[in-house]
Symmetry: C2
Subunit: 373 residues, 2 copies
Amino acid sequence: MALVKYDLNVPHRLLLGPGPSAVHPRVLRSMSTELIGYLDPEWLSLMDEEQELLRAVFQTKNEMTYPMSGTGGAGMETAFSNFVEPGDTVVVGCNGFFSERMCEMAKIYGANVKRIEKPWGGIFTPAEIEEVLVENKPVKILALVHAETSTGALQPLEGIADVVHRNGALFLIDCVTSLGGIPLNIDASDIDVAYSASQKCLGCPPGLSPFTAGDRAREILRKRKTRVANWYLDLTLLEKYWNKERVYHHTPSTTLHYGFREGLRIVLEEGLENRWSRHQANAEYLWDKMETLGLKLLVKRENRVPSLNTVCIPDGVDDMAVRTSLRETYNIEIAGGFGPLKGKIWRVGLMGFSSQRENVTLFSEAMREILRK
Amino acid sequence: MALVKYDLNVPHRLLLGPGPSAVHPRVLRSMSTELIGYLDPEWLSLMDEEQELLRAVFQTKNEMTYPMSGTGGAGMETAFSNFVEPGDTVVVGCNGFFSERMCEMAKIYGANVKRIEKPWGGIFTPAEIEEVLVENKPVKILALVHAETSTGALQPLEGIADVVHRNGALFLIDCVTSLGGIPLNIDASDIDVAYSASQKCLGCPPGLSPFTAGDRAREILRKRKTRVANWYLDLTLLEKYWNKERVYHHTPSTTLHYGFREGLRIVLEEGLENRWSRHQANAEYLWDKMETLGLKLLVKRENRVPSLNTVCIPDGVDDMAVRTSLRETYNIEIAGGFGPLKGKIWRVGLMGFSSQRENVTLFSEAMREILRK
């Protein structure tokens, strides 16, 4: 078979898209490590360490803090499959692609979904949220996307937990594009359920979804009347493997966990505050650079996601031609928009190890050369 | 944080358990490769190559042949969530742990489950299967485990497709512990749906589940009356990413796919027939060695799974003490039994790169030393 002859030969790309972002060489090297068994005492210690590191990154004391075996989509499905029962009311702040996906998943698990609508790129105030919670009482979950990857808009979290808990709901957030790059403190913001992804600001390969759930959410899980309608992501089964019982559920991806542990160490070595500042500073540098090229940003300055920057495509410029030129001539990957923003924006990720000043310098100069042609 | 200081320091273990098995150094090295984006043309070519390699290993022409983003459990859930609709009758051959799990999953997706029962370690004849299919007509799926990891019994596949198709059902098999180690030809055996796992006889790390479905099954999928009640594993969404449309569903685990592609190449370089012979020869060598130690095998010779050998624990021998000694003194991992076989058997995996003559020599001598103490 001809294919057997071809060695893996992957081009070098500067990854400035919506993820995967560049992976730190230490993380890449760690994944060449030999495997051990999923009940080996040395492996069980690694699991404990990984959880401790992950709690520090999430800034939570939540016991139920696991890297789920899947990407962010699996993290989202973990949230909705475990905490929704048929007939529950779920309120979703709809302002981009990933909140639409939240609605879809909540429906799969039988939720009565109530949408709060904003145009793509909009954000919600606590007062707007409270109004919908009061109207639809009792609400089981209020779900928001913290940093919307499809629009580059950042949802402020201040004051939301109060209105959510006052109305008896759980506060659920998607922090796929924020965790490790943008200020986020699960316990201080009193968030009940959150999930993220390994391949964004944490700088690891895709394949794991960091997940955390607090006591309020666990109580809801314990009191379910029906069984969780998903086997692979069932937290009531998974907690038996992650807690002291160590009951086998599925074989974790040893290699991805090696890499994830190393990635979390790198995050904490740098320090969360330093890391957030770095992401912010490189984003601001990008915004300035784009403005000097005459390019506008989609989102107003105070609501921008520094890890995912949305640049408006000027009239008469061919979206795909620019991206192809970036890739083929400069080996740089960025992404286009989708849904209502298709053809209207470029999405420039500055996440994790990809968020470096020199990457912005290179990208901006490449854009200058391409656009002046 | 103290943990930040500790480098990953994993002991070397000879992995002779139920998986993960030892990973070939070429596969380990491939996973240190830099990442590229999930819509990069180079990545899309890699996906095509991976599918072509996987079809060759499954011995199928099925277009719907993907490595699913999860372990074998996710593969099993892919099968039941996509091909079962509420109220469908599913017949499961129940003879071990993983067929029990099949029943559990089929029920989650609303199936009316009919069990054909055998004691753990038993196997089924086509006549026994036909009887139950006829009794319960119409049956949507007949599901069997090819190589049962909990018992070491091999289910012969000859003659089963005929009775299944004659009765209008789909033939579904779990080949988690057989693919790449034991003779299996999806198209020749006329199997409609099959799933496996990367970390067994294919010698890759855990995290991917090779999956294949033929035309009969795809037709059933196309004609579903209800949507697939699982988002992450929904084949109707995934096929849009794997086919020419390339519509984003979730970000694949770049690193695991690099490793998996390399692992599949190694399988095909060796050749399937050679690989099956190697697994058989090393298993037979193990059986002889165990007999010279006075140890009996659980399953009779003609029905043994060569990749997963179940050795009866002699009266008076302490299961856990032997396994601890193997691990602590010899760095060898094997596994115990579970369910009705807990404390009664050891499970010795000879899978993929772990299936080497010298590993059997070492393991057998270590056992001799431990047991004569």
